[in-house]
Symmetry: C2
Subunit: 394 residues, 2 copies
């Protein structure tokens, strides 16, 4: 009785669900502490203390109606103004509250902007490896996701093949840096070239092509690495941000879109995005947490937690002979499977109670993803398994 579209998607998702079930089953047999679950990008660093402090302060100082009530679909004006100012201070931009729309996380924001922009059959380009949910987000609005094959040398976008894939029905390019699943930060050089190509193609086709920059991992950059702010390089940029990782609030569903004045059709995009927020049933981003994040714009999770994991894991795996790029951000490591089939390798890992995800759903077969947002000890305890695995298959 369910829709045909959902039938297909439910069937396709059963592989991942089967893995969750398998994880549960293994935990029952061997005990949770003996199962090493690296499958989910679920932050394990605690939210900074500013978060709960902010909640308490808001409960004390704001009226009940102003905490929990309705507001404009785009969110509280003062919250949007505070966010704009914070971005301006960090990146030298000149945004105001009129450039910010509060959203139900980045996932909500991406749906809002795709609903706003896409006509059926419009193409959205992304670079493999990529966050698999983009397939569904684009499909929700009958668009087609066009995937640029991966550049497995350094996992920077493959710009040559990208250029060849841009057509008159390319509506947007969605990028994600620091990247899930590779942890790579797209370099400034990459961004400059990407912008150049798009400007040329816009002129060639007489179209507007938007970059949608999905930035949930912006604050998780190691060794003080810079993550270029896209709107400074390309006018038709729309940024989707989330506090899920920067403040470890993934359950609260709070983020925002940045729509710069310079973006083509700015007025209509803002009107339509507000309406999309409403008619897609978000209505507005959760009100208390709008006020909370406005008070926590300088707060951040302790990134050292993730950094220690990164170092331990990278050192361990490299020493056993695994090939991978050291992640520059986020909390994922993307590793070459030492046998041809990534899914077969993930199955072998399961026998060692190690749960990892094949690269194929990210558009990059022959690799696997480790989400290292886990306890340090989990990595320590899993390393012997990783060592045994590569020895067995070599």
């Amino acid at each position: 009785m369910i829709s045909i579209n959902m039938q297909e998607q439910v069937e396709n998702s059963s592989v991942i669900r089967a893995m969750f079930e398998e994880g549960k089953r293994l935990a029952e047999i061997h005990g949770t502490e003996n199962v090493f679950d690296f499958s989910l990008g679920n932050p394990n660093a605690e939210p900074p203390e500013e978060v709960n402090k902010a909640i308490l302060e808001i409960l004390k100082t704001e009226s009940l109606m102003s905490i929990h009530g309705y507001m404009n679909n785009s969110g509280y004006e003062e919250v949007r103004a505070a966010i704009a100012e914070s971005i301006n201070n960090k990146f030298g931009t000149a945004f105001t509250e009129n450039n910010i729309i509060m959203t139900v996380g980045a996932a909500g924001g991406l749906n809002v902007i795709f609903k706003t922009l896409l006509n059926p059959k419009d193409e959205v380009i992304t670079f493999a490896p990529f966050f698999g949910e983009y397939r569904s987000y684009v499909k929700n609005y009958e668009g087609n996701l066009v995937v640029v094959p991966p550049n497995t040398i350094d996992f920077q976008p493959n710009l040559k093949e990208f250029e060849a894939l841009i057509t008159p029905i390319t509506k947007a390019v969605i990028i994600n840096s620091p990247n899930n699943p590779t942890g790579v930060i797209y370099s400034e050089e990459t961004i400059i070239k990407l912008a150049e190509i798009l400007r040329e193609k816009q002129q060639e086709f007489g179209t507007d092509i938007y970059i949608i920059s999905d930035e949930p991992y912006r604050e998780l950059a190691y060794d003080n690495a810079e993550v270029p702010y896209l709107s400074k390089y390309y006018a038709n940029t729309i940024i989707g941000y989330s506090f899920s990782k920067s403040l470890s609030l993934p359950g609260e569903r709070i983020g925002y879109l940045v729509i710069p004045d310079q973006a083509a059709d700015y007025d209509n995009i803002v009107s339509a995005a507000n309406m999309a927020n409403r008619i897609l049933g978000y209505v507005n981003a959760p009100s208390l947490f709008q006020r909370v994040v406005a008070k926590c714009l300088n707060a951040k999770v302790d990134i050292d937690t993730y950094n220690r994991n990164r170092e331990l894991l990278y050192k361990g795996l490299s020493s056993y002979g695994y090939q991978c790029i050291k992640p520059q951000g986020a909390f994922y490591m993307f590793v070459k499977a030492p046998i041809v089939s990534d899914s077969e390798f993930c199955n072998l890992a399961k026998e060692k109670n190690i749960l990892i995800v094949p690269g194929t759903p990210f558009g990059c077969p022959g690799y696997f993803r480790i989400a290292y947002c886990v306890a340090y000890q989990t990595i320590e305890n899993a390393l012997p398994g990783f060592k045994a695995l590569i020895e067995e298959v070599k």
Copy 2:
């Protein structure tokens, strides 16, 4: 550059936006206290004290990760169990956590269930007058909303015309009781007949037709009126609930779907609804507020606030000669316009600084809606204007 679909919707919405702008403009000229804004269904009763108490208790007793972290797309199991139990206690049902999916408000829940059920061109029937957002929610998934003309005698559904409109591609019927915009509660007699008709048509066509019961106003019933619990009358019922009005938390976006075991294709509906929650970008209902509502299942706004408004407004308008049904629930009054054109009458009202909404967008021309979720004094001060209005046009 925005999508054609959104272009149309933004243009159509400009009438309502124009009214908001007009309200602002009037407030600037005459002062907010002299503009009587009855246009929005924005609760003005304060959230009960249990809400903020629950937040404080949760901050004290739960770990940071358990308050703000990820959980299953359907929501915290213990929250869903508590909600199921609370429904069972009130209505003698036998739900468990497996029948409850936490959603981003009722609007989120309705989008999830339409995404789950609708194939392109599927028909969803509703009864005029109806909440105008249903048009967009159904259109989001390429369904067609079929509107049963109003029964203006008592605003119970027009069941004869309903029966004639059911076809083999009728996928669902969406009802809203207590109703926005009439305040009428669909009687048990109505529900029994409605269910009977649907069972017959299901058999005739060999299809399943779901009732989707949109229940944000369930707790706002006056004079202890009973609001029948739909799943007790019809197996293929899905209920969408929201805490926006019962706890005055419209900004927090928290609600749930009830999917009974007896609903046809229950397993697939639950799987697909969980997936729809995820891919539509809600991911999950806001986590802190899941825990909050679980602690407030017996709390309720002070409905007397709305009841006093209802009595004052109904008495006043009736005495001036306006025709309307006394609302049995919600916080809306639906009144016959004393001239033919509802929009013209609303324009005349604007000249008296009274903002009301024409019945036409609700599928019921010749009427207007008063949202009386306002200060008592606003009604007192607006009544002379309503009196003058009817005298002038008669």
